[in-house]
């Protein structure tokens, strides 16, 4: 018999042995141990040649096979109902085969059941402590932008799209100046409502400069921007 090298990744020595038995259509209760051992060892040689990981289990099986082979070569002087040296191996192979088959059933069941889809569980727990944490979760730039937009709207400062002409004026407030303003406010109060900062001067230039200065401060990690809930009030906190 020739062995066919199949580079399938075997699960273990039983898997390999089982494959050999199936491929050669061997009767599992009467294994021609010499041929199977030869094939098995041949396969191990191939595995070594291809630099595959040869775990100790594979080598243990090889020595078991050789042991059985040598036992069978010895003439037996004892009674006929003496245990066949192959029995233990056959039993283990049968047990392995059993679970290999069973696992195919499981695969079918899995395949069928995967077609029923449950809705992933949502976070619906309400916890006072949990809520406290959410209160001061950091917010992103877009929340800040929305806040600015709503503020500009409130003050009717929106750019008139009908007549896209602008008057250029000198900036009264630079970003650097506003950084100082914000820092001063935060020195006095640890936490301040963003709207209160804008209230200092409802001038468009000022609002923009403050907005940019807050972004800058946030980028430098001097200021934390907090919002208690979606579209809620935005607070500044010194770090």
């Amino acid at each position: 018999m020739e062995y066919v090298v199949n580079l399938n990744k075997f699960q273990g020595p039983f898997d390999l042995l089982f494959q050999l038995i199936e491929d050669n259509e061997i009767d599992i209760y009467d294994i021609p141990i010499s041929e199977v051992t030869q094939q098995y060892l041949g396969y191990l040689d191939q595995m070594v040649e291809y630099n595959m990981d040869l775990t100790s289990e594979f080598i243990l099986m090889a020595s078991t096979l050789i042991e059985i082979k040598s036992k069978m070569l010895l003439p037996s002087f004892k009674e006929k109902d003496e245990e066949d040296p192959r029995d233990n191996l056959v039993n283990r192979l049968l047990e392995y085969k059993l679970f290999k088959e069973v696992s195919e059933d499981f695969k079918d069941k899995e395949r069928a059941e995967l077609k029923f889809i449950p809705k992933p569980k949502e976070e619906i727990e309400y916890d006072e402590k949990l809520n406290e944490q959410v209160l001061f979760e950091e917010i992103n730039v877009y929340d800040l932008m929305n806040s600015i937009n709503s503020l500009l709207k409130r003050r009717k400062l929106e750019i008139n799209r009908e007549s896209p002409t602008f008057k250029f004026r000198e900036d009264h407030y630079s970003v650097n100046k506003c950084i100082k303003i914000v820092k001063n406010i935060l020195k006095e109060k640890n936490k301040v409502n963003l709207i209160d900062v804008f209230k200092i001067d409802f001038n468009k230039g000022f609002i923009i400069a403050i907005f940019l200065s807050i972004l800058e401060l946030s980028r430098e990690k001097n200021v934390k921007i907090l919002q208690d809930n979606l579209f809620g009030e935005i607070y500044l906190m010194s770090v």
């Binding site: 499981f106 069928a112 889809i117 949502e122």
Partner: protein, 184 residues
């Protein structure tokens, strides 16, 4: 609460919960007898079946869960792809089937049957919630005994562990348990 009220309440709860809901929790919330909840849910299961709805009410062990119907899978899956979609590997399935039939079982016993080290796979199955440590063996080292979990039933669509198909034992293959004793 009459039966239709229980049915209605259970349906609402299962919908919002999403995950499987234990009958104990339902009994506690509704403050009605367990038997009445079971009756109501069984009726609800039939309602879903008979009215040819897109939702099925699945029962496994002592838990219930709403799922979309398998025949609608191809439509549902265009909107939502669960991350367990690919299923278990051959090695994992092999290990899991050994645990399912021989539970409670130690790692060593599993490895004896598979003929190969199985720690990694056992841990992966544990992380996936399909198996759990059910006890410890009263032997030196107190090795952990593994068994299948409630999620295991749900994963394979089994109502209870008794629903596992009988092992196809060969006639002249009854040496298994004797051998186990020898090995100990």
């Amino acid at each position: 609460m009459d039966k239709s009220e229980i049915k209605s309440a259970v349906e609402s709860m299962l919908f919002i919960w999403g995950d499987s809901l234990d009958i104990k929790d339902i009994v506690e919330i509704l403050e009605v007898e367990k038997k009445r909840v079971e009756e109501a849910v069984d009726a609800l299961i039939l309602d879903y079946e008979n009215q040819d709805r897109g939702i099925v009410l699945k029962k496994f062990g002592e838990s219930y869960q709403l799922k979309t119907k398998d025949k609608n899978y191809k439509y549902v899956s265009t909107l939502y792809k669960p991350n367990t979609h690919r299923g278990l590997s051959d090695a994992a399935m092999e290990t899991l089937s050994i645990i399912a039939y021989k539970q409670p079982i130690t790692k060593i016993e599993i490895e004896q049957i598979r003929g190969i080290k199985s720690s990694y796979i056992i841990n992966a199955l544990k992380d996936k919630g399909l198996i759990e440590v059910v006890d410890r063996l009263d032997k030196p080292g107190n090795p952990m005994l593994y068994g299948t979990s409630m999620d295991f039933l749900s994963y394979f669509g089994l109502k209870s562990i008794d629903e596992l198909p009988k092992l196809p034992y060969d006639k002249d293959f009854d040496i298994l348990d004797e051998k186990d004793e020898k090995n100990e």
